[in-house]
Symmetry: D2
Subunit: 325 residues, 4 copies
C-alpha cells in the first residue's frame, strides 16, 4: 500500500505505475473521452490483491475530470453535471420511487472542508412534501432528504453514528455522501470528481480516518462523491523534491549522482522522511489555493445539479438552474 | 388560550392579565431580584386549567431578564451566564458523570433563527475524548456532545426524528435544546432567556409547530433554552393599534369613542383580523432589529458560557472566556 | 411632501394619489409593458412644484418591476437584467470609451443593507488591466472599477467624502451607485429596481439622510440603482391599520363610524402618531422577510449582470453567466 | 537581497545569518524579554547597505512574538494587546488630539488575507461623533476613522490611490495600516506581530508588490502592523528540502555527499529552482493551517484592542473588552 497521501483511486494507481512501471494486478482501468473536455476513468478493484496494492476496498471508482472547470465556463459546468448525473443513474438501486438521503460531510468553518455542507444547501429537498401529502410517488420528483452531520471534533460523536441514527429514523433506500478530498496534485483541486460505491471514511479528507460509512455500517447502499480541495503538504514537498532532483540532473553532472541516489530510495521511505521533517509545521498544515472560497461555491453547484438531475426524473438542467440557483 | 403569538411564558401570563385583570388560575408566579440588573421570574403551570389558559404544558418556566444585555457590558454578560448556569445546575438529573447532548435548533442561513447553531459552535465538546481514552469520569469535565440538526425545510426530515436517532446512537443522559423565539415586545429581543423543562417545538420559533422535543419523545430529560430574536408582525401591529387608540383617546373626543369600540373587541378577534389583513405581506415577514447579527453573536456567547460552566464542574467563567472565546 | 417613508418614486406618487385622488402636478408618468412579466414605469419630476410634492429632486425615475423575481425563474432574471441594461445604456454619457466607477453603498454586516457590496462582488472589474497594459480602449470591454465605501457608522467618514476622494484619484467618467431601499409594501421587496439620475443619499435606505451623492458633489454624472429590501415598520403598521379599519367597516356598523373617523385624519397625522407609539421599539426596527439572505444573493446577480452587459460592449448575457457567476 | 519570501524583518535577518553566519552590517538588533511569554525584537536598518542586504527601507521594525497566542489564553492575549499599545504609543506623532485613519488592507473573501478588514470591524470608530458635535478634543477619546479599501484585483484601482483620496478628504494626522503577511515558518503564523514605520506595500502579503503606502505617498506618517497568516509554498519546500538533506546525512553515508552538494548551492539558486518546479501548482498556492478562520478572529481582536487602547486615552483593556467585543 502506498503511503503517499491521496484520496483518489486514479492517483493511487498513478503512483504505483510511477514506482513499478506496470499496471496493478487485480485492477482494471478504462478511459473514456480522452483528450475531450470531460474525461472519465473507470478503475475497478477486482480482487484482494488489487485491493491491498491500491489501499482501498474492492469496487468501482469513477473519476470525472474536466481541467476547464477552473475557468468557470457555464457550458462545461453543465456538461460535467450531466456526466455526473449519467454515472449516478447507473449506480442507483434498481427500484421504483427511490428515497435518498444526501449527506454533506465536512466542516462549515474550514473552507476547504465545507464542500459537503455547500452541496446540501443546493439540493432540492422534497421528502417532507411526500410525508405531508402522504404521497408514495410523483412523476417528476423522488423523495430526497439532506443532512450535514458535522465532524467529530465539533460534535463529539462519530459521524457514522449520527448518520446511522438518521437513516434508522428516516428509512431512505440509499445514501449519497459528499466529501472534500486530498489530492496529490494541485491541478486536480476542484477539477476532478470521484464517484465510488465502496463507501467513505468521514474525516479522511482533511483529518484522520474514522468508522467507515458504507452499506455494511448503514444497512443501505452508499454512493460516495468526492472532490479534491487540498493537497497534502508532505505530498507536495515530496513531488517537488522529485522535480528539483530531476531539474538538477539536467543542470549539472553532480545532479545526476543526486538523482540516482534519491531515485534509489523507495517512495515510502522518502515520504516518511518528509512527513517527519514537516512535523514542526503541525498536523493542520494545508496546501490550497487562494481562490478556494469561490471554487467551493462553483463546484458544489456542479455536483448539486448532477444529483438533482439524477434523482428527480422530471427535472432537467434548465429547471435545476431555474429553480435552485 | 391566547392567539397572540409569543413563545415566552411570562408574556402569555402578561396578556392574560391585561385582558382579564387577574392572575391565571393554576399558575404560580415568583419574582427574584426585581429592579436589579438581572431579574428572574419563575412561572409554574400547576394544573390542566393553568395549562389550558397559558397554552403550554404543565411545568416550570424560568425567565432570566437583563435589559442591559443590549449595551454589551462584559460584567453583566458574565453575571447573566452565571445566573443561567445556576438555574441549569438545579435542573440537571441527580446523577454523577452526566453526559449531555446539546442541540442547536434553527437555521444557519436565516440570521434571527441562527441562535441555536451559534451556541453549539461555542460549547466545549468533550464526549469524543471520553470515548477515545475510554474514560467514564473526569474531575473537571463531563461528556458533552453537540449537534445542529437543521430545520425540516432544509433537511426534509422532522427535526425531532433526527435528534431521536442521534440520541439512540449516542445515549446521552439528557438533552439541552437551544432555539430562537418570538416575543411580543421588541425590548425583550436578546435581553430575555427562558429556561423550561417541558420541552420545545422545533420550528415554532420562526415557523409552524412540529413534533414536540421532550422527555416523552426522546426518552431522556430535555431542558429547553430560548431567547427571543424576532417580534411577530401581527403582534407588533396589534400592540401598536392599541397604543394608537389610547393616544387618540387622549388627543380627541372622538378618540374616546374609538377606544371604547376597539376595547370592546376581544383580543383574539382583533389579532385574527390583523393576521388576515397582513396576509399579503406573506408568511415570512419578520420584525427584527438592524443589529440582529451582532446580537446573535453576543447572546450566543452568554448562553454557551452558562452551559459550559453548568456542565463542566472544574471550569469557571475565567476558564470559559480563556479557552473558548 | 409625504411623511410616509418610501424610497421609491412610484410609491410617493401612489401615496399622493391615494390621498388627493389626482395625478401630481409637475410630474409625468408613463407605463410600459403593463400586465407583462416586466413592467416599466417612467416618472419624470418636471418642475419645482412636482419636486416639492414628490419630496425628491427633478429628474427621471425609472422603475423596473417583475413580481416573478421572487420565484427565481432564471429566464425572467435574464430578462430583467436585459431590461436594466437597456435602460442604463440610454443613460450613459454620450462618449466613447467611458470609464465607470461602480459604488456599492451599504453595510456588509446588516443583511438587508448588504445589496450594494454584494453587487460589487459580481461586477466585472477591468480598470487595472487598462492601466497595466496602458490601453485607452478595447473592443469588448470598458474600464470599470468598483468600491464598497462602508457606512458612516463604521468608517467615521461621510460616505460621499470617501467616494469623492476615490473619484478624484481614479478619474472615472461616471459613477453608478447601488443601494438598498425601503418600500411601503412587502410585495415590492426584491421585485422592483429603481434607476434614477438625480443622485442618492447614502444611508437613506436603512438610516438617516446624509450628504447627497450626485453630479454636483462628485463632479461626474451619477446613476443610482436601488432595490427595496425592507419595509418601514411605521409604514407597515399604518397600512395595516388602514386595512383593519376597512375590514371592520365591512364587518360591523360600528366599523363604519370608525372608518369615517380614521379616514378623516390626514395621512401625515396618522403616520406621525404611529411613529410616536412605535418609539419604544427602537430606531433600528426593520420589517423584512425570512428569505432576505437568499433574496439579496439573487437580486444582486440580476443587477450585476445588467451593469456588466451595459458597460462591456462585447459581452452578452451568456458570457456574463459563463464567466462571472 | 534574499529571494526567499518573507515579510518579516526578523526572518530576513535570520536568513542572512544562516547563510553568512554573521550579523548584517548596517543593522542593529535588540531583544527584550527573551524566554518570557512576550518577546520583543527591535531591528533597526541603519544605512543603505543594511537596507540593501535586508531588502527593505531604512527604519524601525518591532516584532512582538508570543508563541502561546495559538492556545488562546485570554490573559496572554491581553498582555500582547498591552505590549502592542505600548509600542504604538511611542510611535504616535508628538501632538495633542491626534486624529487617526486605520486602514484594513486585504481581501474579505480570502480568509488568510482578511486580517485587515477583521481588525477594522473591531476598532472603536469615533470621528463622526467629533464632526457631529463639532468637537476638537475629548478627555477619553481621540478621533478615529477606519476603512477597508479592498485589493486592486477587486476594485480595479491602486489601493494606495484609494487611501490617498480618503486621506485628502478626511485629513487624519496619521495612518495605521494593517495587513496579513507571509512568513517563512508555520510557527510564526498568528503568533508574531510586526510594527514598522517604513510603510507597507498593499498586496505584498498575498500577491505582488504595488505602490508603497508610506509618509511620502500619503503625506502623513504611516504605522504598519502586520501578522503572518500564510507560509510561502516555495519557502516551505525549500526549508523542508534542507531538513530532509540534513536528516539523510544522519541516516546514510550517501546522504553526506548529498548534503555537501546541496549545501554548496546558493540559497537563492535553490529557491529559484523550487519556484520554477512549483510553477504548475499555480501562482495562487497558499500554505496555511486548518484553523485559519478562528486564528484570524482571535488575532484581529488582539490587534484591535491594542490600537483602541493606544488611541483612546481614557480607555483601558477592561473597557475595550466591555464595550467592543
Amino acid at each position: 500500500m502506498f503511503q503517499v497521501r491521496t484520496d483518489l483511486a486514479v492517483e493511487a494507481r498513478e503512483l504505483y505505475q510511477e514506482n513499478r512501471r506496470q499496471e496493478i494486478p487485480g485492477v482494471e482501468v478504462k478511459k473514456e473521452g480522452e483528450g475531450s473536455d470531460v474525461e472519465i476513468t473507470r478503475v475497478k478493484v477486482l480482487d484482494d490483491n488489487g485491493s491491498h496494492l491500491m489501499g482501498r476496498p474492492k469496487g468501482s471508482y469513477i473519476t470525472v475530470e474536466a481541467r476547464g472547470l477552473k475557468s468557470a465556463d457555464a457550458d462545461l459546468k453543465d456538461n460535467v453535471s450531466k456526466a455526473l448525473a449519467k454515472e449516478l443513474v447507473k449506480l442507483l438501486p434498481n427500484k421504483k420511487n427511490i428515497s435518498t438521503l444526501v449527506v454533506g460531510l465536512g466542516n462549515w468553518d474550514v473552507t476547504p472542508d465545507a464542500l459537503g455542507p455547500e452541496v446540501i444547501s443546493k439540493i432540492l429537498i422534497t421528502r417532507h412534501f411526500f410525508k405531508m401529502y402522504n404521497k408514495k410517488e410523483d412523476p417528476t420528483m423522488s423523495a430526497v432528504s439532506g443532512v450535514t452531520p458535522g465532524v467529530m471534533g465539533t460534535t463529539g460523536i462519530e459521524t457514522t453514528d449520527i448518520i446511522k441514527g438518521i437513516v434508522e429514523k428516516s428509512s431512505p433506500d440509499m445514501v449519497i455522501a459528499i466529501d472534500a478530498l486530498a489530492s496529490r496534485k494541485m491541478e486536480r483541486v476542484s477539477t476532478t470528481i470521484q464517484i465510488s460505491t465502496t463507501g467513505i471514511s468521514p474525516g479522511s479528507g482533511v483529518g484522520n480516518s474514522r468508522k467507515q460509512l458504507n452499506e455494511e455500517t448503514l444497512g443501505v447502499p452508499v454512493i460516495a462523491i468526492g472532490v479534491p480541495t487540498v493537497v497534502d503538504a508532505a505530498t507536495m514537498t515530496n513531488d517537488t523534491i522529485g522535480m528539483v532532483v530531476k531539474a538538477l540532473k539536467n543542470h549539472s553532472e553532480k545532479g545526476s549522482e543526486f538523482f540516482k541516489l534519491l531515485d534509489d530510495m523507495k517512495e515510502e521511505e522518502k515520504y516518511a522522511l518528509i512527513k517527519e521533517v514537516l512535523e514542526p509545521y503541525g498536523a493542520n498544515v494545508i496546501v490550497t489555493t487562494k481562490e478556494i472560497d469561490k471554487i467551493i461555491t462553483d463546484i458544489s453547484q456542479v455536483i448539486a445539479n448532477g444529483i438533482n438531475i439524477a434523482l428527480h426524473p422530471g427535472i432537467d438542467l434548465k429547471d435545476v438552474n431555474r429553480y435552485l440557483q
